[in-house]
């Protein structure tokens, strides 16, 4: 997992500080929200509304909607949204979708090396 704390609040051209499920992270600027979350791990972003299956980003080009999670209070496609300082991201989709935030994270998915 990426080091969660402490985020530096010093202004820095190359990085932004945002919150994922309430936890602050300092991440490289210019990335999509989906890329940040995938690198951070676990991959799961939400659960499918009908059967509650675990889901993550899939197409990374805005077509599949699997990455549609709550970003700054609205359901948005994480692969199409660029990270911004102060952004609030929840790994939670529309409908029933609860993602990693409510999972307890027993299983870990890979991301960047731990």
């Amino acid at each position: 997992m990426a080091p969660p704390e402490p985020p530096s609040s010093a202004p820095d051209e190359g990085h932004v500080v945002l919150r994922v499920d309430g936890v602050a992270h300092r991440v490289e600027a210019g990335q999509s929200v989906a890329a940040v979350l995938l690198a951070m791990g676990p991959y799961i972003l939400r659960r499918s509304p009908n059967r509650g299956g675990a889901r993550s980003a899939f197409c990374m080009m805005g077509a599949c909607q699997e990455c549609a999670i709550v970003i700054d209070g609205a359901i948005r496609r994480a692969c199409q949204v660029e990270v911004r300082a102060g952004m609030e991201i929840s790994r939670r989709g529309a409908g029933l979708g609860t993602g990693a935030s409510k999972q307890g994270n027993a299983e870990t998915t890979p991301g960047t090396a731990s």
């Binding site: 990335q31 509304p49 899939f58 197409c59 990374m60 080009m61 699997e66 209070g73 409908g95």
Partner: protein
């Protein structure tokens, strides 16, 4: 912002970019609209992070940088981060972008919307950690990273080899590469590839890098399924010609089964298409890229899969033709300017055919979709439920939609209708495209962008309604 133009070009990939440059240079008030953060499209995607920019320019980056520089100097109005979600004849295009919703009008439109990727469903393709091959190229190009520690790469055609080789360059050696084609299929493609010597050299470089890294390669094989529910623990692979299945421990799978035209706007405007075994549903158009709808021009992969170089050439012809039809170019000037791109298209036809043949997914792989496999990811409809709907009398995809909700989720059938149409043809003997007519919004519009911000609790559970 000005909203009436002589020409609107949708899509800023090689096709749309060249069309906009050609038309703007000829003097047309041209607007180029694209959903991405910068011009370039899929193949010439601009790097977005410092690490991606630092990775050293390759041929695709140079192609993109050149296009972006010429676009900036062309005088065309460029709207990035803007989706076209509706199109009316005449033409009026509804867009939603960083500044909210607006309308663009123009007597002429070039559609250069590119391609989407097909993935043949298999058990476990919805598990987090299974990603498209095209997704891998997007991540590597724009962000310079690829998630995963033990990755497998599967599918067929040039994109398969490109992704596997670029992963190695990022320091991520695939555990296994699974190719539906074999050495013989690749050799058969060689004469076609030789039509574009630079691309051929690049391809041989990729293969060389795979060989040097001794990446295990499974020829003529495909994924049977993924082991795991919330994470990928492994994949099971089967040889197409029979033989024992094999399991590989991986945590991430990149898989893709070829490209299909992103043809929603084309179909919404009622432009004719014809089925093509290599290019997918291909827009019917004349040699100057005029579609069957007056004033509507088509170029690039959205009109039939042909690859980046052909897309650029066709885009240039489309832009010139729009300028000519607008009265901004004389016939002799049009003929002279379109000669070079026409020659290029002709020279690359066999290259494109060879790539498409390798990319094409064998229909037998769709026939094998097991009943428990999820077909429609949005609504969790399985192939078994879909087959049961056909047994109960559903005779087209519209009826099957009512029976099962397949294709009614927010992706609007982009991920499932290809496979569903195939199963329907198999089970019923029906012929033709079978996809229901698209309706606006053709791109799932983020409601917040249209109606302002709203509370999470205000969101209706998205069932029928596209987001």
């Amino acid at each position: 912002m000005r909203t009436a133009f002589d020409l609107v070009v949708v899509g800023a990939g090689p096709a749309g970019g060249e069309a906009a440059i050609a038309a703007a240079r000829a003097g047309l008030a041209t607007c180029l609209v694209d959903e991405g953060p910068a011009p370039g499209g899929q193949v010439w995607r601009a790097p977005r992070t410092a690490s991606a920019r630092g990775s050293g320019p390759d041929a695709d980056r140079r192609g993109g940088d050149d296009l972006r520089a010429r676009l900036a100097a062309s005088g065309a109005t460029i709207l990035q981060g803007a989706q076209v979600w509706d199109a009316r004849p005449g033409f009026t295009l509804s867009i939603v972008g960083p500044d909210g919703a607006s309308l663009l009008s123009a007597p002429r439109v070039v559609l250069a919307t590119g391609a989407t990727e097909h993935v043949a469903p298999f058990p476990g393709w919805t598990v987090p950690g299974v990603f498209g091959l095209a997704a891998a190229t997007t991540l590597m190009k724009s962000q310079g990273t690829l998630p995963g520690r033990r990755i497998a790469v599967a599918g067929q055609g040039p994109l398969l080899v490109a992704v596997a080789s670029k992963a190695i360059a990022l320091g991520l050696r695939p555990v296994v590469v699974i190719d539906r084609n074999g050495i013989r299929d690749w050799s058969r493609a060689a004469p076609g590839f030789a039509r574009d010597p630079a691309a051929m050299a690049r391809g041989l470089g990729w293969i060389g890098r795979l060989a040097a890294a001794r990446v295990p390669y499974r020829a003529r094989s495909e994924i049977v399924g993924v082991d795991g529910t919330d994470t990928v623990r492994g994949i099971v692979v089967r040889p197409l010609d029979g033989g024992a299945e094999r399991r590989f421990d991986v945590d991430t799978l990149y898989v893709g089964d070829g490209l299909a035209p992103a043809d929603e706007l084309l179909r919404l405007l009622g432009a004719a298409q014809e089925s093509d075994p290599l290019q997918g549903p291909r827009a019917v158009c004349d040699a100057d890229r005029r579609s069957s709808v007056p004033g509507l021009y088509v170029a690039g992969d959205g009109a039939g899969i042909r690859g980046a170089q052909s897309a650029a050439a066709a885009g240039r012809i489309a832009g010139l033709a729009a300028a000519r039809d607008h009265g901004a170019l004389t016939d002799p000037a049009f003929d002279a300017a379109s000669r070079a791109p026409r020659r290029k298209l002709w020279r690359l036809a066999r290259f494109a055919d060879a790539s498409c043949r390798l990319m094409r997914m064998p229909e037998a792989s769709l026939d094998r979709i097991a009943d428990q496999t999820i077909l429609c990811r949005c609504e969790d409809v399985t192939a078994g439920e879909f087959r049961a709907a056909i047994a109960d009398g559903a005779r087209d995809l519209g009826q099957a939609k009512h029976f099962t909700r397949l294709g009614m989720g927010p992706c609007q059938g982009r991920m499932c209708l290809h496979a569903a149409a195939h199963l329907m043809r198999r089970e019923t003997g029906a012929l033709g495209d079978l996809r229901p007519t698209p309706r606006a919004p053709v791109r799932p519009v983020e409601l917040g962008a249209l109606i302002g911000t709203y509370d999470y609790d205000d969101i209706p559970v998205p069932k029928a309604a596209p987001l």
